[in-house]
């Protein structure tokens, strides 16, 4: 499905498509880019987009954004995700960047924004804690003022790729006496500070993507506070809004569906009754994707006319994650007995995996995608948001 594009926008789409085809690094095309690439490899495409001026479509022009319309941003998102490119560092560009240019002071903007764009700084997110997952307002990590520093103590968890990070943006409690949402501040912490420890969390797919981050008497300069003390909740909510808009994942789902169809064709004989069963399941998911894509296009069209989409992001998150989980599940099923195998971590070229290449990451994708309905605000929480904000319940 395509937006009805003006000739200029159609030309832009062709330009983006050609740029990806010519410039996307071959060495990033590994079976599972999210976990198989080194830090340097993960940054290659980010840096190519940076040099082109396309690394931060969301950002206003004055801070280094390309100054695209909503339609062009959408076209870019669609083309890059259809082509299966690894997005630029999301926690840097999509999350902390907009918080800094929206709520930060000039010194912070000058210090951090250029290094976010260039990829010189890798950011991770210090939101979740062992006791506060979906209920973020209960963060317990404390920041106590000591002269021109804060002393920070606490334990952040599920921190994606903290092992690579140079900086972490944290929600910290600065007023223990206030109501939960009122006493929170938004603090930027250098990962090299004494007292910061990163401990890997291995997940059920065997990969190391997330971490615990321990903060023990970490001294953070007061100049690293974003906005006002105790106003962090406002900035955090702003950021979460950005996180959820990109979760429909139409491009990715379309790509994985195409792959799934090829796998089913290769694995299951045309006269096997299972073939029809798979076709039916795939057809249902295709229609789910089509309906979600149409919804996304409708929302984009509304936004282009200046209409606030409200909590549409929650709808995209729920359906986008459910769809992708369904695809990974069917793919795992399609490879039959080979689905018993799981790649060993750390990865090594010498280890044997049974069956054709297309099935080698099916098990870990299936297992890994269980997280989608949990993170970024669980799907239960997203349903609560729609119940309250849309249905008025």
């Amino acid at each position: 499905m395509e937006l009805a594009l003006s000739p200029e926008d159609a030309a832009f789409r062709d330009e983006v498509r050609a740029f990806i085809a010519e410039n996307y690094p071959q060495e990033m095309r590994v079976p599972n880019p999210e976990t198989d690439l080194t830090k340097e490899q993960s940054l290659l495409w980010h840096r190519i987009l940076y040099r082109k001026g396309w690394v931060a479509p969301l950002w206003p022009k004055e801070y280094g954004g390309p100054g695209w319309s909503i339609t062009r941003r959408f076209i870019f998102e669609q083309e890059t995700s259809r082509a299966g490119t690894l997005p630029p560092l999301a926690f840097s560009v999509t999350m902390v960047g907009p918080v800094i240019y929206t709520f930060g002071n000039d010194a912070q903007k000058q210090k951090f924004l250029p290094r976010i764009l260039s990829g010189d700084d890798w950011w991770c997110q210090g939101y979740s804690e062992p006791g506060s997952g979906s209920d973020l307002a209960t963060v317990r990590t404390k920041a106590v003022r000591d002269g021109d520093h804060y002393i920070v103590n606490g334990h952040k968890t599920w921190t994606t790729l903290a092992q690579h990070a140079d900086w972490i943006f944290c929600l910290v409690r600065t007023d223990p006496g206030a109501k939960p949402q009122a006493g929170i501040s938004f603090l930027l912490i250098d990962m090299k500070s004494p007292g910061v420890t990163v401990r890997p969390i291995v997940t059920i797919d065997g990969s190391h993507e997330v971490n615990d981050v321990f903060l023990e008497d970490v001294r953070v300069p007061v100049e690293n506070l974003i906005g006002e003390e105790n106003k962090g909740w406002t900035y955090a909510k702003f950021l979460l809004g950005n996180e959820r808009t990109s979760m429909a994942g139409i491009g990715r789902s379309t790509r994985y569906l195409d792959r799934l169809k090829k796998i089913v064709k290769a694995e299951i004989a045309a006269d096997d009754p299972a073939r029809l069963d798979f076709s039916k399941e795939i057809g249902r998911i295709e229609l789910d994707v089509l309906a979600l894509e149409a919804t996304e296009l409708r929302v984009i069209a509304q936004m282009a006319r200046g209409i606030d989409p409200g909590p549409a992001a929650s709808l995209f998150k729920i359906r986008g994650t459910e769809i992708f989980q369904g695809i990974t599940e069917l793919t795992h099923r399609a490879i039959g007995n080979d689905g018993l195998a799981l790649r060993e971590q750390p990865l090594s070229a010498n280890r044997f995996m049974p069956g054709p290449d297309y099935g080698h990451t099916a098990s870990e994708k299936y297992l890994n995608s269980r997280k989608l309905s949990i993170y970024g605000g669980s799907n239960e929480i997203q349903r609560n948001i729609i119940a309250k904000a849309v249905l008025g319940l």
Binding site: G133, I268, A274, Y366
Partner: protein, 376 residues
């Protein structure tokens, strides 16, 4: 409908429970799984000593005569503890094939070593592209004196890296897909010209692809009757796999319930949210239905009732879907913790995923269940 267990069966259950509680903690299991070999020979010896490896065999064969119900009792407890040792492959698959199809000489040669915990077996029936079809066999066997010579390749042979002997299906007549012309053979797993390419399974066990290049095998059962033997074997395997799944489901449900009563978000336990209460009620119902159907299947297996194969497929499908639902929701309700390798919940999820592949996924067995009805 609940099974009234005999005193002996109750004793078996409580002794398995006690042993696993004392010796098979999640941490002990983790140690075995991450060891070089990937399982514990010491634990296997303890199973033998307790009589678990003898339980289902008939007394004439040197067993305890417990039949499918003893297998069910053991497998259910093994499912609760995520046991990785090859009880299924050695006792349920190979053991029962030898007992049902073997000559007296073969039974005497093989069963005592199984019962004593001396030998490990694995069953090699799947091939590249065969999916879940027992009759889709390209591996060949040709007579050579009183033995046969096997050539071909088998895939996804669970426990093959640990096995001393394999039972292999191979074609002695006919073409690929023919139901007849398939025979079973006993092959020495360390034979020359037999190559193993090992890999780890999602549920922490070991499996291999096995290549046979002119490997000597000994016929098990009548020539050409392999598929019928494998079908009966699969029915028994499904009885045991369903019992394991039900054991794992019970653990997931109790862990999730416990977690929901202690985990607080928004100032209250998450178990106080109605949406999660209803979810857990559905998980409870799914387990109850699975438990009932699993017992019904194993009772029918014990009585060798007619139509057992259709019932086995029905149970494999229904219990497979129930297990998947429970496993999905157990991870979901545990949130991020459910995603970690550290917590046992994800490992139960993976065990259930593995069970759902072995001998056919729930959709495959649903279709088979329907087709067998149409054929009747």
């Amino acid at each position: 409908m609940d099974i009234q267990f005999t005193e002996e069966q109750e004793l078996l259950r409580s002794s398995v429970q006690r042993m696993l509680r004392d010796q098979y903690s999640f941490e002990a299991r983790r140690k075995s799984v991450s060891s070089e070999e990937g399982w514990s020979r010491k634990q296997w010896a303890a199973f033998a000593e307790l009589g678990l490896l003898a339980a289902p065999f008939s007394e004439e064969s040197g067993g305890l005569g417990g039949g499918p119900l003893s297998t069910m009792i053991i497998a259910q407890e093994f499912g609760r503890h995520l046991v990785v040792e090859p009880f299924m492959e050695t006792v349920v698959l190979a053991g029962s094939l030898i007992e049902h199809a073997g000559t007296d000489e073969q039974k005497q040669a093989f069963i005592p070593d199984i019962v004593a915990g001396q030998k490990i077996w694995a069953l090699a029936w799947t091939e590249r592209g065969s999916r879940f079809d027992l009759a889709d066999v390209a591996t060949t066997a040709r007579a050579d004196g009183k033995d046969y010579i096997l050539s071909g390749e088998k895939t996804a042979v669970i426990a093959a890296p640990w096995a001393d002997s394999l039972i292999v299906s191979a074609r002695t007549a006919g073409k690929r897909d023919d139901r007849s012309g398939i025979s079973l053979f006993v092959v020495d797993a360390r034979a020359a010209n037999l190559d193993l390419r090992s890999f780890k399974t999602i549920d922490g066990r070991r499996a291999a692809e096995v290549t046979f290049r002119e490997v000597r095998g000994e016929l098990l059962g009548s020539e050409g009757e392999g598929v019928a033997l494998l079908e009966t074997c699969r029915d028994r395997a499904i009885g045991a796999l369903c019992a394991e799944a039900v054991g794992a489901m019970a653990e997931l449900n109790s862990a999730t319930l416990e977690f929901s009563k202690t985990r607080k978000q928004f100032g209250v336990t998450i178990g106080s949210f109605q949406v999660l209460q209803h979810r857990m009620v559905d998980m409870f119902i799914a387990h109850q239905e699975a438990l009932s159907l699993m017992q019904h299947l194993n009772l029918s297996l014990g009585a060798s009732e007619a139509g057992i194969s259709r019932l086995a497929s029905g149970a494999k499908s229904k219990i497979g879907y129930a297990g998947k639902f429970i496993a999905d929701q157990a991870v979901q309700l545990h949130g991020g913790m459910g995603m970690t390798d550290e917590l046992n919940v994800g490992h139960y999820f993976k065990r259930i995923s593995s069970i759902n592949i072995q001998f056919g996924d729930p959709a495959h067995h649903l279709l088979r269940y329907v087709q067998l009805d149409a054929a009747a």
